[in-house]
Structures are given as C-alpha cells and as structure tokens.
C-alpha cells in the first residue's frame, strides 16, 4: 500500500555543516538526494522511514575532481555527470559504463553515486566498479571525517558501517592500473535491475567484483588468486562458482546467476587478454 506522503517529515539544510548538525541533533533521519530509490518504496508502501533530510541542494558535495592522483567524486554527482565527466572517462571508464546502464535519462539526471552506495542494494550497478577500483568512502559527521575502504563498508544485506549521524560525502578512487571491464545483465536492454553485474580489472593483481550474487556486492579473492597464479580459465570458473552465493528471487534463479557469472568471468578474461 502506498505511503501517505503528508505524514513524512523532510528537513532541508542549506549547507553540509547544517546537515551534519541536524543529523547529530535531530536524528534519526534518512538522507536523500535524487529520491530515485525512495519513490519506488513510497509507491509500493515498503518505505518504513518517516523522517528524511534533503541533501540534493548541497552543491559542495557534487564536484568531480582529481587531487594528487586520487579521483574524488562528490556523493551527489549524478549518473549523468559521471557519464559526461572527462576525468571519469580517463580514469575509470567502467564507472561511466555502469552509469549509462542505470535507469533511463530521468533517473540518470537524479540518481547519485552516493545514493547508490547508501542504498546498499546488492544489485547496485556502480558498486562492483567501486569494489574493483578499491575506492575509499569519505564519511562525514559533525564530529569527524573518516575514510572507510569501500570493500569494508557493507556488513550485510543493506547494512553498512555508516553511523546514523554520518553521510557519505565523497568517493575517492585511487589510480587504477590495468584493463577495465564491465558488464551488466538485466532482464531487458535498458531500465532493468541487474540479475548479475560484473566489474573486472586485468593487471598483475586481477580484481573481480560481482553484484546480485550475494547479500552484498562482493570481491572474489579466491577467483582472483586463481587467475593471478595463472590457473586455466576452467579452473577459475570452478573457483568462482564455489565462491558466490546466489539465490532465487523475483528476477532470476540461483542456477542462472551461477552459470552466467562464470561465463562473464571467462568473457572478461578473453576480452582483456593480450
């Protein structure tokens, strides 16, 4: 059943400082920006939160810049901004590739990278990219700013180490060496939630991350190890199939996800060879 919007509360800070103060003093509040996930929950009546804080106007959290070899992406950068950014195109083209496959133009104009991370869906399309890029999340509260590796951020299905008084302020991507690869498998050609999504980096230290095959987006250390040690691809496929924990859900089956994940691994490895 649809949520009654008039009973929801929305705080509208005018600066990041004010937002952090509100989170500290007037919480708990759910931060929102583009609202692209919030509205799906509102319409289906699955949104339990009643109090929200609107970060969308806080332009200080929107910039994409490069500082000292680190690509820093403000949490409010939209998918459209990622797609158009020359910096992203140069440094992490698979992030732009992922952004292009998220929703349609309207969603890309509103949805933000910080929101994709905070929403914490195991199917979030940008998340495997951040996992293989070994991004750092800049988490801000009124008390402090701390940096948490993306790969230690999620603690379970839609659970993370983000505290109630914190927001994701920025995503920092270190220099990425090697060939990058990304592939999303959805139910249809556009505007579909992933059944499987894989990001990979081919280097001396191969890195692979998968979405929609476990409670969170996951890196595959054993599979990466097998590839790094020069194991044949058939061997790496077997390791991968043992390393993921896909389930049957509305979108697909565990068996399909397992088989497709192994196929994508092989395709990644062949496409990035030589």
């Amino acid at each position: 059943m649809r949520t009654a919007v008039s009973r929801l509360e929305l705080l509208q800070p005018r600066s990041v400082r004010e937002a952090l103060r509100m989170l500290r003093d007037e919480g708990p509040l759910v931060p929102l920006a583009g609202c692209t996930d919030v509205y799906v929950g509102l319409n289906f009546g699955t949104l339990s939160a009643k109090r929200f804080i609107d970060l969308w106007p806080l332009d200080e959290m929107r910039a994409i810049r490069s500082t000292g070899g680190v690509l820093s992406i403000g949490a409010l950068a939209t998918y459209t901004e990622l797609i158009r950014s020359p910096l992203v195109a140069r440094r992490l083209p698979i992030l732009a590739a992922a952004a292009r496959e998220i929703g349609g133009v309207q969603i890309q104009n509103r949805g933000t990278l910080g929101g994709n991370v905070a929403n914490g869906s195991p199917a979030g399309d940008s998340l495997p990219v951040l996992a293989v890029a070994e991004a750092m999340l800049v988490l801000s509260s009124a008390a402090e700013t701390r940096r948490v590796p993306f790969n230690s951020f999620f603690s379970g299905y839609r659970k993370s180490v983000l505290r109630l008084d914190e927001i994701i302020a920025a995503i920092e991507v270190p220099r990425v060496d090697g060939r990058q690869w990304f592939r999303k498998v959805g139910t249809r050609a556009a505007q579909a939630i992933s059944k499987v999504v894989l990001a990979g980096i081919r280097s001396d230290r191969p890195r692979i991350a998968l979405g929609s095959v476990a409670p969170t987006v996951i890196r595959l250390p054993k599979t990466e190890g097998a590839l790094a040690s020069g194991a044949p691809i058939e061997e790496a496929r077997r390791v991968l199939e043992g390393e993921i924990r896909p389930i049957d859900d509305l979108r697909s089956t565990a068996e399909y996800r397992r088989r497709v994940s192994a196929n994508l691994l092989e395709r990644f490895w062949r496409d990035t060879a030589g």
Partner: protein, 712 residues
Amino acid sequence: MGATEKSRAVGRNVPRKEGLDKVTGAAKYVDDLTFPGMLHGRTIRSTIAAGEIENIHLGFARKGFTIADCRDVPGRNVVALIELDQPCLAERRVRHFAEPILLLAHEDRERLLEAESLVAIDYREETPIYDPEKSDHCFKEIRIEKGDLARGFAEADVVVEGEYRVGLQEQLYIEPNGVIAVPENGGITVYGSLQCPYYVHRALRVLLGLSDDKVRVVQTETGGGFGGKEEYPSMIAGHAAILAWKSRRPVKLVYDRVEDMVATTKRHPGVIRHSTGVTRDGTLTAIKIDVLLDGGAYMTLSPVVLSRGVIHATGPYRCDHVRIQGRVVATNTPPNGAFRGFGAPQTQFAAEVHMERIAETLGIDSVRLREKNAFRPGDTTSTGQKLGRDTSALRVLREAVSRSDFRAKRRAYRGTNRGIGLALFFHGSGFTGGGEVKLASKASLELTETGARILVASTEIGQGTRTMHAQIVADTLGIPYDAVEVAAADTARVPDSGPTVASRTCMVVGKILERCAQEMRRELGGRSAQDYLAERGSLVVTKEYSGPDGLYWDDETYRGDAYGAFGWGCDVIEVERDPETWQIRPTRVTAVCEIGKAIHPVLARGQIEGGTAQAVGYALLEEVAMRDGRMANAQLTNYLVPTTLDTPEIDVTILENPYEHGPFGAKGVGEMPIDGPAPAIVNAIRSLGVDVRSIPATPERILEAPSLSASR
C-alpha cells in the same frame, strides 16, 4: 457529388480527430477532472486468497470519512456481466487476494492512505487452490467436433504430441483504471477511462437498482485499454457509485499502478495439449486439442475467452477430423479477463510451435508443411465454417517468406547464434458465433449545418476509432473528412453500439455507420445540409446491425460460422542469442497482415507494430510472479515490458483482400498482430536447437530447456 470524390478520406492518413488535443495536453483524462465537493475514494482489499471475513476493525476516527461495505449497496451486490457470481464488495467469503471488501472516501487523498493502514481485518483462512489442474469448479466447457477423430488417426503415419504453456500477461495501458461518480437528478453519472460505456451502464443499473434513464456513463479520454478496460470498469465504477450514493457527493476513484496491477484482470494463463495425426508427406489427418485456461476466482468473460481460444486452436489449417476440448476453471487468484487477442494468442502459440515440431518430426520443411495444410477459400474450419474468397493464409505466408528471405537466412544462420522463426495465424473479426446478432448494435448519424455528427458508443482508446469512423462516413456521404464530427461516448447521447472489443469497431460498427450515411445521402437527395435543416428541422439516421445473409451458428453444438470474416497474418522473426547469458534479442520482424482494407494505413500499421511489441513482451519478458495468489512484482520496476531498445525493427506489409460485408472491404485489425510473434520467436529459438515450449521464454527457461536432438 460525382465519382471523382469517391474515397477522399478512406485509405489516406488524415489527421487524428483528437490528435491535436493529445499532443498539446488539452485532452482531459479522468484524473484531470474535478467536481465541486468531490471526495476521493479508496478500496480496502483482502490480504488473503481464500477464507471468511470474521471482523473488521477501523482504527481511525471516522469524522470526515464515508465508509461503505456490501450492506450499502442499494441494488444487487454483483458486478453484472455474463454471470452474477462476482460481488462488487465481498460479503463473508473471500475468493482471491485483493478482493474488494470496504470502501473509504475523504476529501484528502492522503488521509485515505493513513486510514487504510489502520484498518485490520480478521479472517478464518481456508486452503486456496492455485493449480487449475486441481480446480473443483469449471466455469465453462466447450467441445468442438468435426469428422471422425478415430478415422483421422487411423489415416496417420505419425502422431505428434505436445504440451505448451502460456503465462499471465498484464495489459499495462499507460493510464490506470479510474472513474468519477457524480450523484445527479436522482441518479448517478459516471465519467471514466473505459472501453464499453453500456457494460458499465448495465452494471450500475443492477448494482444501484436504478432505471435506465437514471444512470449515465460518459467515457473520458482514455489512455489505452487492451481489454483491461472492457469489464473491470464495471467494478471500479460500482465502487465509486456506492460511495457517491452514500455521501451524496462526487467521488473520484483512480488507481495507482500497484493497485491496478495487483487487483485488475490479466490474460488467462493456460496449458494446451496437442495430439496430431499426419501422413509422411505432411498432410494433417487428425487434430486433437485440449485447452485448459485458469479463469481466476470469478467468471468475468472467461467463457467467451475460452470460446475464441478453442475456435482458433487449430491455427489456420485444414483438417477433416478434429476434436477440441476446452475448459476454463476457477482458482483463488484475481479474476483473469479480456486482453487483446482474447484466448487466440494462447491457443495459436501452441498451434504454431506444434506445427514446427511436426515438421521437425517428419524432417520436412516447415514452410512446405504450412503451405500444404493452410486454409484455402472453400475449406472448412473446425466449426464447419466454409471460408470465403477473402481467405489469405497462403498469400500472407508466401509474402512473409519471400519478403524476409526466410529460407536463405535459415540456411545461413544454421550453427550460429542467430535464429529465424515463422508463425502463420488468423483472427476472427467481431463477436463469436451469434454474438453480433444478439448484441443488435446501433449507430446513429446526425445531420449538422456543416456536415454530420457520429453518435456511437464505440470508444477511442488510442486505436483511432473516431478518425476511422469519420473517414468511413465522410466518403459515404461524399463530404470532407473535417465536416464529420464525433460525439463523446455518453450513454445519454449515443445509442448502444456494443462494446469496443473483438476487432469489431471498424468492421461491424463502421459498417452500420456506412449504412447510416448511405441512407442520409439518399434522404438529402442532393440538397445541402443547410437547406435540408431549414426545410425539415433535423435529420438523425439510426441503423441496427444486420448480418450478412446465410450466416449460421449453433451455440449448443459449436457448429457453424464462428465469425463474419477472418484477418490473416504471418510473422517472420529473426533473433540473436547471447552466448554468455542465453538472452534472446529479436532483431527483425517481418509482419504481413491481410485486413481487407486499411481505412487509415498509418493507424493500421500502428496497430500491427504495437501488437507486435506487446507480443515480444509476452514471448520473452513479461512474467507475472504469483506468490501465494498475489502478484509479487506489481511495479513497473520489476514487471518489465519491452522498451524501445528491446523492440526490433518491424517491417509491416498490409495486404488488402476485401471482405464484401465490411465498410470499404475492411476486416478487423486490432487483435490479430498479437497472435503471431510469440510462436515465431519460440520457433526462432527452436532453430537454435533449444526445445522451448512455454512462454515467457526467459533466459532462465532457455538455460533449463533441453537441446533438440542433433539428428534433425
């Protein structure tokens, strides 16, 4: 008015009557309308699939709310359709999830949502039945017998058997169901998004116990229907009317997408079993078909869906010995109902995949097999209907095969990830059997100072009703297209032209209008409209349906002329398989349709393209995930229909083989295009060596499907 003026509008792509209003946003849909003192309504629905209601607790302050349940129904608590089995509001028993129980109205929509969350209903639950094979209640059984089945099988060299399954499909009109009920003049007026004003009119008369003249139904501009606004508006109009009756105020009831998908009708899922006798050279000698459809909890239009389904179940093929047995049964799911194609897409999916399998079994070319058995003029269908000169099965087949270069591509694609498949199909125009005679539809034409005004209950739901009717009238009267107006479909103004369904609006209602225009022209006798009106005051010509002589139908034995005419179609669809993901992407459709006469070629093409896209979804994507009798994916985020990127290039060819009793030779076009693409796509997947026999053919199903043996 000489012969040179003949056909000035018909066959040309004149501007749509309501086109400008739609593109400029001036067109008013039901949710754009408001009335003084209007309340908003909300429906409280069951959260179980089967059981009895024990208690209802309203956990909110009632001030400002109008609350209604089954006891507030002034007349009979039923949605009057074929059978009076469906309550408008549940009494004690609940037979499906989302069954309406209670109605709320309030000035503020938001307060309704809060109140709804505070309603608690206690049930005594019963064990629901979801599997139609286990149903203990049959809504309708139909048996078609032709020739001697045992003899047919005795003549066969080979018997090919198969079971085929089709799933539910959501109509997904862009505008959800919605109405406004206004109490006025001691009666009720309902404005709404709907296909059949007189269906709603009758349902309201029964529900409210009112006389004809106290009920008025007005269609508002409607954003699509596809059958989903054929019978369901009688339910939602009833709810709004009950609330309006009780509150004495106008009540608007407009569903959001979730409610529309959870609660309203869908295409019947089914299991179809074939057993076919065939000689070595590919002549069909015996056809035995068993059709089982899941009707859901109430009858709605299920018997008629089954009827069209079984009549089309052989596909467009001749055979002397046929037995078709069909059943539509009850389960504890929301009722299924009308959806473009109305049973024929289900049964022709099975027929055309089975035809491909017969060719595979015999090791002969499937085009040859179809050519050998396709209906010719003079052949008889399973009901014994003798087909007329406008029988174009072979013509559409040959045209589609040559236009698509089918044979060369099939050879070239062998052993690759590309596939190509074909389906031949037909679709009866108008109501089945004696339906049109029973309906006795009427249409009127009124002379105006500047031309003529059409008065019909046929609704414009995006398909071009107003435009196409005006074209027929303009050319018959010999006046410009712009001189023809179309009155709103308002039961206070227009006669009952029957429902806007069954591919009948052009062929049947258009023909009645053509007769009205012919009589008006005779009556005018060359005088101008102004002169005539000055002299006589007014001129309204009303005509009633009059079928072609010699049409015969026996509803007891299911023998006779099932339809006045059939449209004929052939689709060739090329696909690509992704080797990593088993995804099937249709890359090109060659659609050839013979529809008698395209009154408006662009609109006719639009029907073919739209129906094809909708069928691509049916074939590959659209899966209603039923969990414990409820649709679990009732959102556009997880019930996925094809986007533009999922829709292949569609090469449409319209052939015209005029039907002598249709206006300007026209037959139906609305439904037929959805019959062919699903089997053509599955046959294309079969050409890739995958034995798929059910839809949607999702990658998960393809992964699990057996391979076709290498021996073929």
